[in-house]
């Protein structure tokens, strides 16, 4: 009952004209920077931070949060339309979103991303109402061993992620893990495989690689395939919104994605791409037609997009109760709050119901705004695909170059992107999937660090992964993913798929 009163108060706070305006500004600015490559949410929020000194704390945090989830949504738009993942969280959306666009179903992909985000946002508000305080404690229990077990489970899902040849997928994964070891090892401080290059000593960034493998490789591959565009333009009229069949395929992934995003969002370091990746891997694992993934399966857009949005709301639980920022953006928002004298504490939600629920209500409102803002725009966005390739492709390359250069203002990262563009082109030619490479590059360093941190803590004993309850359960689930496909009962199903 008390919660309902608080939620009511939250909406009363969020629905003042001033806060609606700040929320709208935040969402609009966020969408714009999300669509345009170069400026990311981190840079934008830190530039907006001084403005918030002059606002009251609630308006300030409402606006900054609006920028954040607006940018997430904008990033998905470019991922779907032109295969450019603006930031890491939208890499997964490239996989099937862009394929849908190629089949003339960009509208459905953009629509399901918007609706899925909206539904996930709604569900996480309900989730926060029910379980916010205990949830924070749950996130804290994730230390290095639990993190290792979580990624181990994700890796075991990854094994079946590739839709093609299993041997090729394993090879690509191993190469991805190796590329991930390049740079300064932050446990020992040693530099690995950098050959004296300053750029390589910082490691091979995920965004230049993803932009190369997806965006640049796409352009290269299409240079000799001009006849395809006419087909996209003809089928484009199939509908700008998701149809009944799409909804039938998407509603469960949206629900599962929301749950994954919500729980993983509370784990320090567990947000963003970890959630979208897990949701994607799970959808593929339990799908009756896993071979459709990577070829335009709407579940592959609906699940991860929902997971991403649900995790944004969940990030506020560890942030406000313990002051733990789960992402860089959250760290800056925390700074903005502390300037206003607001300090996180375990009793924060109880003591500041107006701020907490006002923020949650504003995120809900912001999701409505995103929906209203973006649904009419879908028609406009889809037209981007009608731009003749001779104009669109140079523009895509230009955006990729600007986007990667603006990450660290380092021209060598652009070179890395171009190299991976050619690598991606060759991989497509010889039918290797790029997705396992990207995930291995991303998860490899994470699992290595978690493993070594755990073993430092346990003084070398591997028992630490099994004696702690959460990591023990996750390890067993992960091992089961390996064993189950080998059981006799499972084989039959695989044959069905092959037929």
């Amino acid at each position: 009952m008390e919660t309902i009163t608080n939620v009511g108060m939250g909406f009363a706070t969020a629905l003042t004209w001033a806060n609606i305006t700040y929320c709208f500004i935040g969402v609009l600015v966020g969408t714009l920077i999300g669509v345009l490559p170069g400026l990311g949410p981190t840079a934008t929020i830190s530039l907006l931070l001084p403005v918030t000194y002059y606002l009251n704390p609630i308006s300030a945090i409402i606006m900054l949060s609006g920028v954040y989830y607006g940018a997430m949504y904008g990033g998905s738009t470019t991922a779907i339309l032109v295969n450019i993942p603006g930031e890491t969280a939208s890499i997964v959306t490239c996989l099937d979103g862009y394929q849908m666009a190629r089949q003339g179903r960009a509208g459905a992909a953009l629509g399901i991303a918007a609706f899925g985000s909206f539904i996930a946002g709604t569900l996480s508000v309900v989730g926060l109402m029910l379980v916010a305080p205990p949830l924070a404690e749950f996130g804290l229990r994730f230390g290095p061993p639990e993190f290792f077990a979580l990624i181990f489970m994700a890796f075991s899902l990854l094994i079946c992620l590739a839709s093609g040849d299993m041997l090729k997928a394993v090879m690509i994964t191993v190469v991805g893990v190796w590329v991930g070891t390049i740079g300064v090892d932050f446990i020992s401080g040693d530099t690995r495989f950098s050959y004296g290059s300053l750029t390589l000593s910082d490691g091979v960034g995920i965004v230049p690689v993803a932009m190369g493998l997806f965006g640049v490789a796409e352009v290269l591959e299409n240079i000799d395939k001009q006849e395809q565009q006419a087909k996209i333009l003809k089928t484009r009229l199939k509908g700008l919104l998701p149809n009944r069949q799409d909804w039938k395929e998407s509603w469960l992934p949206i629900l599962r994605g929301s749950a994954i995003g919500f729980f993983m969002g509370t784990i320090p370091g567990g947000g963003g791409v970890m959630t979208t990746f897990t949701s994607y891997a799970l959808e593929k694992k339990i799908s009756k037609h896993p071979e459709r993934f990577g070829k335009g399966a709407i579940e592959g857009v609906a699940g991860p997009e929902s997971a991403n949005n649900a995790s944004v709301a969940a990030h506020y639980v560890p942030l406000l109760t313990f002051g733990i920022p789960t992402t860089v953006v959250m760290a800056i928002i925390l700074g903005g709050l502390m300037i206003h004298g607001i300090s996180p504490s375990p009793t924060f939600i109880k003591e500041n119901p107006q701020l907490f629920w006002g923020l949650i209500a504003s995120m809900y409102m912001g999701n409505v705004m995103l929906l209203v803002l973006n649904l009419p725009l879908i028609g406009l966005w889809v037209r981007v695909l009608a731009i003749p390739y001779r104009i669109l492709f140079p523009l895509i390359l230009l955006f990729c170059i600007i986007g990667v250069y603006c990450l660290n203002y380092n021209i060598w990262e652009v070179v890395i992107m171009v190299i991976f563009g050619f690598v991606g082109y060759l991989m497509r030619r010889f039918e290797y999937e790029p997705a396992p490479f990207v995930f291995a590059l991303l998860l490899g360093p994470m699992i290595e660090n978690a493993l070594r941190q755990s073993l430092i803590i346990s003084e070398g004993s591997f028992g630490i992964f099994f004696t702690r309850p959460i990591s023990g359960v996750l390890m067993i689930v992960g091992i089961m993913f390996f064993i189950i496909p080998a059981l006799p009962g499972f084989k039959r199903k695989k044959f069905d798929v092959a037929d």
Binding site: P144, G189, A331, I457
Partner: protein
């Protein structure tokens, strides 16, 4: 005729400006005549960015010229340091970096510059190193912790290996005769949440705000830290203390002293005039506003270098 006359005027102009350039270094009285370039070793939104922004508007107003942020992130400050080293020492380029990061970039990374390539200008903020344990932990003081560490191998979270925090703990453990194992966590917030979740015994990092949920046993700074004045300093407790970490301004070697002094005076004045507001905003980014002059910063940077070099060689770490 006309063109020839024009050319003569240009030539005379060039010669005159060259002569002036040689005879008189840019006079401090006219400084700054154009925008000043601040080179940052991190991207927008990073620690140094927010630090500069504490003072930026006010310093710009006082000096009458804008400050332009140039982001040169990467390689632990080496890229930014090299850029500033190669810049013209005319008082229009500054490096914004902490004394500890500057020294680390020289000792741990393959930096092609030394301390002599930079002139200290002034500090901007203090970022203390704090020793924090879980509120449920049995250790109420540093002494409790040090005593317990003699029988139990303690694990403490740090940001990165061979950071100043690790070196300070190493110095203390050598004096007190215990062994503690550093666990690099890749970030201050991560190290502190590991303490909060009970995964490590202590964290030794710069404040992030999470410390308010923890028990702070000690702080490594000259004076007590204003955010938590009840916490004793290492020095008071009789432990060896390492160098303090200050986010600071450095200029390339050869920058005129008058300009360095003028910039320092400007920061000092700005802080005096708006102490309350700047202090509050500094607290928001977990730092403390501190403007120390060229001499103090130079001494501190030298001290940091000596301390790092000595500790690293004692520990047998590879030193550049």
């Amino acid at each position: 005729m006309k063109t020839r006359k024009g050319r003569t005027v240009v030539v005379v102009g060039i010669v005159a400006s060259l002569l002036m350039g040689v005879s008189a270094a840019p006079a401090a009285a006219d400084y700054p005549a154009r925008s000043m370039d601040y080179v940052l070793p991190f991207g927008p939104g990073g620690g140094t960015d927010l630090t500069v922004r504490l003072y930026k508007d006010k310093v710009e107003k006082l000096l009458g010229q804008p400050i332009v942020m140039t982001y040169k992130p990467g390689a632990g400050g080496v890229i930014a340091g090299r850029y500033v080293k190669e810049s013209k020492p005319d008082g229009y380029t500054f490096l914004v970096i902490s004394n500890t990061s500057l020294v680390t970039s020289m000792l741990a990374r393959k930096a092609d510059f030394t301390l002599d390539d930079f002139i200290p200008v002034c500090t901007l903020t203090l970022s203390p190193t704090i020793f924090a344990v879980n509120k449920d932990s049995p250790y109420k003081t540093m002494k409790d912790f040090a005593e317990a560490a003699k029988t139990k191998k303690m694990k403490y979270g740090i940001t990165a290996p061979f950071s100043s925090s690790q070196l300070i703990v190493e110095a203390i453990s050598r004096q007190e005769g215990f062994q503690a194992i550093p666990v690099p966590m890749g970030g201050g917030a991560k190290a502190m949440s590991a303490v909060l979740g009970g995964h490590v015994d202590m964290s030794v990092v710069a404040p992030t705000g999470i410390e308010n949920q923890l028990r702070i046993l000690a702080v490594n700074s000259e004076d007590r830290w204003e955010a938590h004045p009840e916490v004793p300093t290492l020095k008071e407790l009789g432990y060896p203390s390492g160098p303090e970490t200050h986010f600071s301004l450095y200029a390339p070697k050869g920058t005129p002293k008058e300009i360095v002094d003028k910039v320092y005076e400007a920061y000092k004045k700005v802080l005096e005039e708006d102490r309350e507001e700047i202090t509050k905003r500094a607290k928001g980014i977990n730092q403390a506003a501190r403007i120390l002059g060229p001499e103090a910063l130079g001494k501190m940077t030298q001290g940091t270098y000596v301390f790092f070099k000595e500790m690293l060689s004692k520990m047998g770490a590879p030193v550049n």
